[in-house]
C-alpha cells in the first residue's frame, strides 16, 4: 500500500514539474518583453504642434544629439545603439520597432542603429542618424532604414549634430574632440535630404580646439578650449552671410553650459555664476553670482520654461550624487531636487531632455530614460523624481 502511494506521489510530483516547465514566463519577468505593444509608434499627433524649426534644431543636453522631440513623439538613442520612442505626452519609452517576431535585442531589430551612432536628427517626417562617415534615414516608426550619403572617404572619425536639415561636423582624425592628431580645421555641413556633396562652412584654426558649436540663423558660434584652463572657453562668432569672424570672449562657459539666441549669449561659469553677453557690443555681465562649497562639475541647460543647473560634487566622472537646480529666466531659484539614481562610479546617467510637461532623466545612458519630473510639481515644495514604469 505504502509503495503504491509513493509511486502515485512521485507521478504527481513529475506532473507538477512538467506543467511548470511549460508555463510561460509572466509578462513582467520576461527578459525579452520590451513592452512594444503600442500601435501608435510613429503616429503623428497634431495636438499642440510647435513650429517645425523647433523640432529640427539642435538642443543641448548632457549628451550631444541623442534626444529628439518631434511632432510624432520623443526619440532617444542610448549609448549602446538602440533607438527608443515615447508617444507625445507619454513618458514610457519603448524600442522603436514594430517588426513582428522581433525580440528587440539584436542588431536585426529596427531599433538598433549602431553603437557608433554619432547622433540623431529630425527633418521632414524622417529620422536621420550618422554612423561613421555615413548619414542614414528611417521612417518615424523605425522602419525603412536607408543610407542617404557618404560624407567623405576613409576611416577618420567625426563629431557633429543635426540641425535644420543639415548634419554639421568636424573631422577628428585623432578619434575625438581634443585628440592628439586632429589636423582638419574645417567645419563642414551636409544636406540630409538630397544628393549634394558636403560643403565647408568655415575654415579656422579655432576648429582644432573646438569644444562645441551652435547655430543661430546665419551665425555660427564656436566655443574653443583654452589649453590647461578647465573653467573658461573662448567664444567666437562667424557670419555665414558677411563671412566675418570675431572673438567675443575668452572667459565664456563650456559645453552644455551656454546658449545663444537673438544676439544674446547666456552661460554658466563654474563657481562664478550666470553671465550674459551682448553679441554686438561683446559686453559680458554677471547676472547672478553662484558658488558651491564643493566646486565639482556643472552644466547649465537653457530651455524655454526654465534654466536647469546640474551640479555634481566630484571633480571627475561621478554621477552618483547630482542635484538639479531649477531657475527661472530672471535667475531666481525656483526649486531643487537630488538625483541619486545612478549606481556605480562608472555609470553615466543624468538629464536627457525637457519635453512638454516633463523633464526626462536616465539613470544609465546605455539604457532608456527611466525617471521623470512632472513640471507641475516645480515650486510645490514636493518636487521629486518619478520612476517611469513599464
Amino acid at each position: 500500500m505504502i509503495k503504491k502511494i509513493s509511486i502515485l506521489l512521485i507521478i504527481a510530483l513529475i506532473a507538477v514539474c512538467l506543467a511548470s516547465c511549460n508555463k510561460p514566463l509572466p509578462l513582467e519577468s520576461n527578459p525579452i518583453n520590451t513592452g512594444n505593444e503600442s500601435s501608435f509608434i510613429g503616429y503623428l499627433n497634431t495636438d499642440n504642434l510647435k513650429p517645425e524649426s523647433y523640432y529640427t534644431s539642435f538642443k543641448q543636453g548632457i549628451t550631444i544629439g541623442k534626444y529628439l522631440e518631434t511632432p510624432y513623439g520623443a526619440y532617444y538613442c542610448s549609448f549602446d545603439g538602440y533607438l527608443y520612442y515615447s508617444e507625445k505626452g507619454n513618458t514610457k519609452y519603448i524600442r522603436l520597432c514594430n517588426k513582428p517576431d522581433c525580440n528587440h535585442n539584436s542588431m536585426d531589430c529596427n531599433a538598433y542603429i549602431s553603437r557608433s551612432a554619432i547622433g540623431i536628427g529630425y527633418y521632414d517626417n524622417k529620422i536621420y542618424y550618422a554612423v561613421w562617415n555615413n548619414i542614414y534615414c528611417m521612417d518615424m516608426d523605425g522602419s525603412n532604414h536607408k543610407r542617404v550619403k557618404t560624407l567623405y572617404e576613409g576611416y577618420d572619425s567625426n563629431f557633429g549634430f543635426f540641425h535644420n536639415g543639415y548634419f554639421y561636423y568636424v573631422i577628428t582624425k585623432g578619434g575625438c574632440l581634443g585628440a592628439i592628431g586632429n589636423d582638419d580645421n574645417n567645419l563642414y555641413r551636409a544636406k540630409v535630404d538630397d544628393d549634394s556633396k558636403p560643403e565647408i562652412v568655415l575654415t579656422n584654426d579655432a576648429i582644432l580646439k573646438i569644444s562645441l558649436f551652435m547655430i543661430d540663423d546665419d551665425n555660427i558660434y564656436i566655443i574653443a578650449n583654452i589649453p590647461d584652463n578647465s573653467k573658461f572657453v573662448s567664444l567666437y562668432s562667424y557670419s555665414t552671410i558677411s563671412k566675418s569672424w570675431s572673438e567675443l570672449s575668452d572667459a565664456f562657459g563650456g559645453p552644455s553650459a551656454y546658449y545663444i539666441i537673438d544676439d544674446t549669449g547666456y552661460c554658466y561659469i563654474n563657481n562664478k555664476g550666470f553671465y550674459e553677453i551682448d553679441i554686438d557690443t561683446k559686453e559680458m555681465k554677471q547676472m547672478k553670482a553662484l558658488e558651491f562649497e564643493n566646486e565639482g562639475i556643472c552644466s547649465a541647460l537653457y530651455y524655454p520654461d526654465y534654466i536647469y543647473l546640474i551640479h555634481c560634487n566630484s571633480k571627475t566622472q561621478d554621477f552618483t550624487n547630482q542635484i538639479l537646480y531649477i531657475y527661472d529666466w530672471d535667475y531666481n531659484l525656483i526649486d531643487s531636487v537630488k538625483f541619486d539614481k545612478v549606481y556605480g562610479k562608472s555609470t553615466l546617467g543624468s538629464f536627457v531632455g525637457d519635453i512638454d510637461g516633463y523633464i526626462i532623466f536616465a539613470s544609465n545612458f546605455n539604457e532608456k530614460p527611466d525617471y521623470y519630473i512632472d513640471k507641475s510639481e516645480i515650486g510645490s515644495g514636493n518636487l521629486m523624481f518619478h520612476k517611469i514604469e513599464d
Partner: protein
C-alpha cells in the same frame, strides 16, 4: 622614543591623506582574450586609460581583421558626455588602434569590437 615613533607615524598618515586628496584619480584597466576562428588562432588585447585607449589583434588566418572602438569622454570641469568612435584600417595578421586625448578631456569608458572579416569575434567594455 616611543612618542617620537608615534609622532612620525601620525605625520606619515597625515601626509598620505593629503596626497590622496591632491592626486586626481586615474582609471586604468585592460583585457586579454584568445581563441580560434576557422581553425586559426587569434588574440585580442585591450587597454583603457583616462587619456589613452588602445587595442590590438593578431590572427594567424588569411582573412582581414579589424578593431572598432566606441567610447564616451568628458571635458574637464563640465558634465557634458561626448561619444565617439574610431575604426582601424583592415589588415591581415596584425591590426592596432590607439586614441590619445589631451589634458582638457578624459575618457570615461570604451567598448572594443574585434572583427575577422565582417564577423565580430570578440567584444569587451572597459572603464
Amino acid at each position: 622614543m616611543k612618542s617620537n615613533y608615534i609622532k612620525n607615524i601620525s605625520l606619515l598618515i597625515i601626509l598620505v591623506m593629503l596626497l590622496s586628496y591632491s592626486i586626481i584619480p586615474v582609471s586604468a584597466s585592460s583585457d586579454y582574450y584568445e581563441s580560434t576562428y576557422n581553425y586559426y588562432n587569434y588574440d585580442c588585447g585591450s587597454n583603457f586609460d583616462t587619456n589613452e585607449l588602445s587595442g590590438e589583434m593578431n590572427y594567424a588566418g588569411p582573412t582581414k581583421i579589424n578593431i572598432a572602438i566606441d567610447y564616451s569622454y568628458m571635458r574637464s570641469g563640465y558634465l557634458t558626455v561626448h561619444t565617439g568612435s574610431a575604426i582601424a584600417f583592415p589588415q591581415t595578421s596584425f591590426v592596432g588602434i590607439i586614441a590619445t586625448i589631451n589634458t582638457d578631456y578624459y575618457f570615461t569608458s570604451c567598448y572594443y569590437s574585434y572583427l575577422i572579416g565582417s564577423n565580430m569575434v570578440y567584444s569587451v567594455g572597459l572603464f
